[in-house]
Symmetry: C4
C-alpha cells in the first residue's frame, strides 16, 4: 500500500486556510500543541493517513480495542467564538517515519492533500533539543522564503535559527522546505526543549500555543497546560537533584549555550 | 514481484466465513493452532502467497525437495461432522516479515484476498510473551471495535489486554487494526506464553484451540496436543531446574506479574 | 530502474535448452564452473542483466575501463564437437543481492527471461560450506520435485541434503524453489566446499564440472582446472600448517562432520 | 515520490554539450570544482532534482530560510569570453545516496535527463582517498571504453587506475559505467586526495580545474582556489604536527604508497 489518505468527510471550500502540523518529536511539543487545539477547538476529523512506513505495531486502547498507527487531518472553521481569523487544517500524527523514504512520502502525500483543500500557508512545530533546561524557552523560526520572515517579524520568533542549529530532521522541516514546490509558503516554529525524550514538554508546547494565539487570533484557555508545565518543572527539578547533569539556565547565562549543544530537532 | 497470491482452486460462495490466521511468533502458538485445524479438519488449500519480504532462503524437505517460504490459504466447509457453524478460511504462514513495509503489504494483500471470499470476521492468534511460565495461561483479547468485545464477552477472553501490554507487533495486530478499512471486524486472541522462542508452546496453542471450539462449535480431539503440552511442561521444568531464572507461577501469585514483564507479542 | 535485462542478440528457437546458473557464493564454485563453460565452449552472450540491488560500485578493468556490476546470459548450441546433448543457457553473475527483495527480484526476472527462451529445466550450482576440508567433496542435491530426484538418481548426487543443511541462502535455492511457478523443474547442485571465502575453490568447481559432463554429455578438458585445484590444496595446507584450525578430512572420518558444521550455502 | 527532476527553464538546442558532475565525496573535490565552474562561469540553473533517497533533513540557511537537499542542473554556453569549445551541462549535488538503490536511481534519472539535452560525453569527478598527503596529486582516469582513453591520452591523466584502486563507490563511477546504455561515453577523473573527510580539498579541486582548462579550453582565474589550497596545506601541516600519523609524501617517494593504501573513492 505504501501511503494512503482516506477521506472521512468531504470538505467544502475553506476560508484561506492555514495548515498546522503536530507529530511526535523532541519533547513532543508539536504533537501536544496540535492535539490541544484539536481538543479545545472541537476540530472535526476529515481524513486519516495510513502508511507502511510506520512501525508494524498495533496499539491497544484501554478499552481493549486496536489502534493502528496513523495520522489524522482535522479542520476548524474560523468564527467569533474561537477568535480564529482563518480556517485551520490540522495534521495530528501518531508517528514519524524512521526511513527517509517514508518521511519524503508522508510529506509529499500531506502537501498534495492540503493543496487540494486550498492551503497556501503552513506552520509546522517542533522542539529544538537543548542539553540544559531553560526557564523561558525561545521559539526559533525557519521559513520557506524571506517574505515569510518579514511577515512573521512582528511575532516573538527568532529567525537567527542557523546560529543555533544546522538542520532539521524529519517532516517538520521537509514540509516547509518542499512547500514552495506545491505553491505554498510556511514557517517551522522550533521551541527550545529540554528533557529526556520520555518526558512530554508541556512548557514548550505552551510556548508554541501562546505564539499561535498571537498569529492566528485564536482564543485559548491555557491554564490547564500551564499547570502541567509547572508540574513538569517540579518533576525535572527532582530528577536533576537526583543527579542529573544540568540545571535550568537563566537567560542571562545564555552565552553558555553554544551551538554545539544543539544537535537535533524533530 | 513484491507480493503475489496465486489461486490454486476457485472457491464457490462460502457460508458466512470466518477468517483464522496462524503465523510464527511468540511460542508459535498461532501457527500451531492454525496448523492443527488445517490437518485435523482436512482443510483444502485454495491459494498460496509469495512475497519478496520473506527471507531469501529456500528450505530443504527431508526428501531432498525445495520449499520456498510462503503462506497458504485453506478453506473448511461447515458440516455436521466437524461441528462448524460457519465456513472457515485459514491462513497458515511460514514467516512474518521483518520489515514493517513487508508486514503492511502482507496484511493488505491478505485482507484484500479474503474480502473477495466474503469474509466479514477475523480471528487472529498470537502469544503474549511472559517472563515466567503460568500454569493456566489466560487468553487476552484485542478487538477491532467495541461491538466485537460485546459479542465475545460470553467466552473466557480477557479484554483488559491494555493493562498487560501496550501494543502488538506484526501481522496479528495489524490484521485486526486494518480490518475496518475492508469492512470487516475481528479479534486478536493472545495467549500467555512462556519459553525460549525455540520451544513451540503446545500448551498455549491448546488453550487457543479450546477457545475456538467454543467460538466456532468445531469438534476437535485435543488429546494429541494435550500430550505434547504435558511433555513440554516436563521439558521446561528440566530446563528450569538446570538453572533457568523463572518458575511456573500459579494464578494466586498473579499479582507478581507486572505489566512490565510483558513486552512483546508476535 | 530496479532490474532490467537488455537483450544483446535475438535468439532463435533453442533445442530443449537447459539453464545453468553461476553466481558468487561459498568458494565461488558455481561462478567458476559456469565461467569455465562460457569460456571453453565459446558461449555467445545474448543479454545483460542490470539491477539497483547490486552494490553501487563500479569495478575498474586493468585497461582503465569501467565495469558495472551485472549478470550475463550466454547460450551454447549443442553439436558433435562439444558433445552437448541439448542447448545451454548460462547465467553468469557478478554478484548476488544482499537484500532479500533484490534476490527475489533477480530470481523472478531470470526465470521470466529464460522461460521465454523455452527453458524447462534448471541446474543451479553452489557450495555447501564445510568447517573442515574434505579430500573428495560430495555433491548434494536439492530438487524442485521428486520426479527430478528420480531423473538424477543415476548420477553421483546425494539427495539426502536435508540431513546436512536445513536451507539454502540466496538465488541458488530460490531459482529451483520458484521454478515450478514458471512451469519448470530443476536441481541445485551443492558441492562441499571448505576454505576462507577469499579462496576460490577450484576443487569444488571441478567436481561440479565432472558432474555436468555426465549430465549434459559435454566434452571438457579439465586438466587446467585440475591443476588449479591441486595448487589450491597445497596453498590450503600451508595456511593450515601456519595455524589453521582444521585439516583435510578423509572419507572414512566422515562421521566427524556433524550436520552442525554445515550452516551456510550460497 | 522517489526521484523527480523539475525543469526550471526550457533549454534550446545545446552545441555538442559535455556533462560535468560534482557531488560530495572524498575531499569534496568534484563538488568544489563543479561549484567553482557554476559560480565563475555564471552558469544558468535549468532544473532541480529531488529524491526521497536523500537524508530526511532540511538545512537552514544563515538568513533563516530552509534548504531541502537537492541536485541542480546548470548550463554554460560556449563563447569567446569563457573560452569554452563546447556547451556545458553541470550537475551540482548536495548529497549522494547512502543506499545502492538510491544511487542507481539518481544515476539513471540524471543520464535520462541529460540524454534529452543532447549530451553524448560525460566527465565525472571524484577524489581517490590517500592515507598520506601528496605534494602534487595525480589524476587517475577510468573510461567508459578504450576509445575514450585514446581520446584523453594527450592530457595528464593516468589511466593505470586499476593498479591503484579496484573500484569506485557511488555515482561518480556508475555514471560512466552506465553511460554506454544511454549512447554516451565518458571518463571519471579521480584526483589523489588526502585529509580527514571534514576538510574540503581545494588542492585536489584545483588540479581537476587545471585539467578541465586543458580539456574544455575554458578560461578560469584559479588564483582564489590556489590561495585556499595553500591555506589548506598550512592547516594540514598544523594538524599533522599535532600528532597526525602521516606527512606529505614527495613524488620520489611514490613507491611507498602501495595500492593497499587506496581503498575508497567517492
Amino acid at each position: 500500500m505504501a501511503t494512503q489518505i482516506i477521506v472521512k468527510k468531504k470538505v467544502r471550500k475553506l476560508k484561506n486556510p492555514v495548515f498546522l502540523e503536530g507529530m511526535p518529536g523532541v519533547g513532543n511539543v508539536g504533537r501536544i500543541a496540535a492535539g490541544f487545539l484539536v481538543e479545545k477547538l472541537k476540530a472535526e476529523k476529515i481524513a486519516e493517513l495510513y502508511s507502511s512506513y510506520f512501525q508494524h505495531v498495533t496499539l491497544i486502547h484501554s478499552d481493549g480495542t486496536a489502534h493502528v498507527i496513523k495520522g489524522e487531518f482535522y479542520i476548524v472553521k474560523a468564527n467569533k467564538k474561537n477568535g480564529l481569523k482563518r480556517d485551520l487544517v490540522i495534521y495530528l500524527g501518531d508517528q514519524q517515519s524512521e526511513l527517509p523514504q517514508g518521511t519524503y512520502e508522508l510529506v509529499h502525500e500531506i502537501l498534495n492533500f492540503i493543496k487540494k483543500l486550498g492551503v497556501k500557508e503552513l506552520i509546522t512545530m517542533g522542539g529544538l533539543k537543548m542539553d540544559v533546561a531553560v526557564e523561558d524557552p525561545i521559539v526559533y523560526g525557519v521559513a520557506s522564503d524571506k517574505s515569510v520572515i518579514r511577515k512573521y517579524s512582528k511575532y516573538p520568533i527568532n529567525f537567527n535559527s542557523a546560529s543555533k542549529v544546522g538542520s532539521i530532521v524529519g517532516a517538520v522541516g521537509l514540509l516547509i522546505g518542499y512547500a514552495p514546490l506545491y505553491g505554498m509558503k510556511g514557517v517551522s516554529l522550533l521551541v527550545e526543549s529540554f528533557g529526556p525524550p520520555i518526558l512530554p514538554d508541556h512548557k514548550g508546547a505552551k510556548k508554541l500555543l501562546e505564539l499561535l494565539q498571537k498569529i492566528l487570533g485564536v482564543k485559548l484557555d491555557l491554564s490547564e497546560i500551564a499547570k502541567k508545565a509547572k508540574e513538569q518543572d517540579i518533576l525535572k527539578e527532582k530528577i536533576m537533584r537526583a543527579g542529573a547533569p544540568a540545571e535550568t539556565v537563566k537567560r542571562e547565562k545564555k552565552t553558555d549555550i553554544g551551538s554545539s549543544s544543539l544537535t537535533y530537532i524533530g
